[in-house]
């Protein structure tokens, strides 16, 4: 397993880091955020700062609002009937819920890796090229081809699919499909990767493979992952947010929260009392 992860990072092309990590302004800033499904309040007065180019892990028991919070970052909450929201989510200081903001532009900047890989009804190649086509990001077939290869390499899938790029995406194993979804998401050049329990449908080896990609990619992308496995949180997190019943109980650097939680509820969760 270890060797698989290492091999993966070796054949990935070198990612250029975009300046020093962590220091400076937070990438996402949440201010007084409240969210409702109908009359049920799902998020209560959330205030957060999510650091640039680190992996932030949101933890908490089922139904605590982790996924709801994540959905507010790429304007996915509004796809749910009856969902309402107040407050601000600032991306590099700009409120993504401001009136003149185009939600498709937000979703281009903030990629999503869903719980189950959901490939598009087209070939492996077209799955990666789709987003670039929609946003008209390249000028020639050659540019598209190169970009598709580039992102498949970053996702660690190129070696496995280079001879069958025009096969249906559904012909891949589920772990490969999730890496394809990663490549597809990266191809539209986002700044942020959201992961909604992105490994929960995968087998252990595929999970570790995805994890090693994410660790690799944090030099370039700000990453926010929702997970319900504590061990995964410990493997990935630079920064941790603990939620309970729609509120943020504790947020801080991973090392501190894991070793010395300030709040009793966090402590109880970390000790497995849920």
């Amino acid at each position: 397993m270890q060797s698989d992860a290492e091999k993966g990072s070796m054949d990935a092309p070198t990612l250029k880091a975009r300046g020093p990590a962590a220091e400076g302004d937070p990438h996402i800033r949440v201010r007084n955020l409240n969210a409702y499904y109908g009359k049920v309040q799902a998020l209560t007065n959330i205030n957060l700062e999510i650091p640039k180019r680190q992996i932030t892990v949101i933890m908490g028991p089922s139904g605590c609002g982790k996924s709801t919070l994540l959905k507010t970052f790429n304007r996915f909450l509004e796809l749910t009937d009856g969902a309402k929201l107040s407050g601000e989510v600032l991306l590099d200081g700009q409120d993504i819920y401001a009136k003149d903001v185009d939600e498709t532009e937000v979703r281009k900047r903030v990629g999503l890796l869903a719980q189950r890989p959901s490939t598009l009804p087209m070939s492996i190649y077209d799955n990666v090229a789709y987003g670039m086509h929609v946003h008209r990001m390249k000028r020639s077939r050659k540019e598209y081809k190169e970009a598709v290869r580039h992102y498949l390499e970053i996702a660690g899938l190129w070696d496995e699919v280079q001879r069958r790029l025009h096969d249906p995406a559904t012909s891949l194993s589920i772990g490969q499909q999730q890496r394809l979804c990663l490549a597809r998401g990266l191809a539209v050049e986002p700044e942020i990767i959201l992961g909604d329990e992105p490994t929960s449908a995968l087998d252990p080896i595929s999970s570790l493979n995805i994890e090693s990609r994410l660790l690799d990619l944090k030099r370039v992308y700000t990453t926010v992952i929702v997970t319900h496995t504590l061990r995964q949180a410990k493997r990935l997190a630079d920064y941790v947010i603990y939620m309970y019943l729609g509120e943020v109980i504790e947020a801080g650097a991973a090392r501190e929260v894991f070793s010395n939680p300030k709040h009793d509820r966090t402590k109880a969760y970390l000790e497995g009392q849920f």
Partner: protein, 287 residues
Amino acid sequence: MTTRRWERRHLAEALVKGMMYFSIGLVAGSLALILWTVVIRGIPAMSWEMVSMPPEGGYFMGKGGGVLNAIIGSLYLASGGTLLALIFGLPIALYLETYLGESPWGRYVRLSLDVLWGIPSIVYGVFGFTLMLAIGLRASLLAGIIVLALLELPIMVRAMDEVIRRMPVDLEQAALALGSTKLEVALRIVTRQMLPGIITAVLLGFGRGIGDAASVLFTAGYTDRITTSLLRPTASLPLAVFFQLASPFPEVQKRGYASALILTVIVLVISLGSRWISGRLSRYTIK
């Protein structure tokens, strides 16, 4: 491992399996027998003249000519009816799915469609005829097309409804997450996913339309000429088969079987063709 003991449940298993094989054999056998009859009796009377010429005077007493009038009439009727049914059916299917869903109204609409599906086509024919009398339309291609559209609508809508209901929810979200607009999702993703199923639905409608005799009996009429106007009567293959088989002349009866063979081949070609197209298209669909 011990040897299997023949308990009651094993007996039941064998019995049910036997019944399934019997049913499949019965259905496949009947189909083969029908095809066999049509082919064996149709081939002798089959000629280039049959498919290339309209009937000459005295055709129904054994003189020369063919059934080109009915071939073209049937293609006009079924194509027109299918197109009209699709134009009205697709919005109904989409409305059913997006607005009514599994609500009580949705269930009533689906139930009504299923009931309409079961109504004998002669009732559609009479209904169409009554309607024509009311608005002063005479037996014509147009009237035939309208009645066939009504006949095809229920089966087409229900088939499309099933296709749309099987659309994976995650798929739209996946495309939206990449920054697609809703129109792009509809055109590039949803259509691609659903097209093979919609083609199948259209084919089901077409098959029902082209093979139906009773609904066009009063509404489209019959003529020995090749129809050139929507407002003129038109011949159709099912009625051609009916009239010829009812003839006392053996050579005319044989031509009836030949006409049935032509109809069968048309349906077969269209089925296989659209199967092939929808197979090509569904290579990439998410199952």
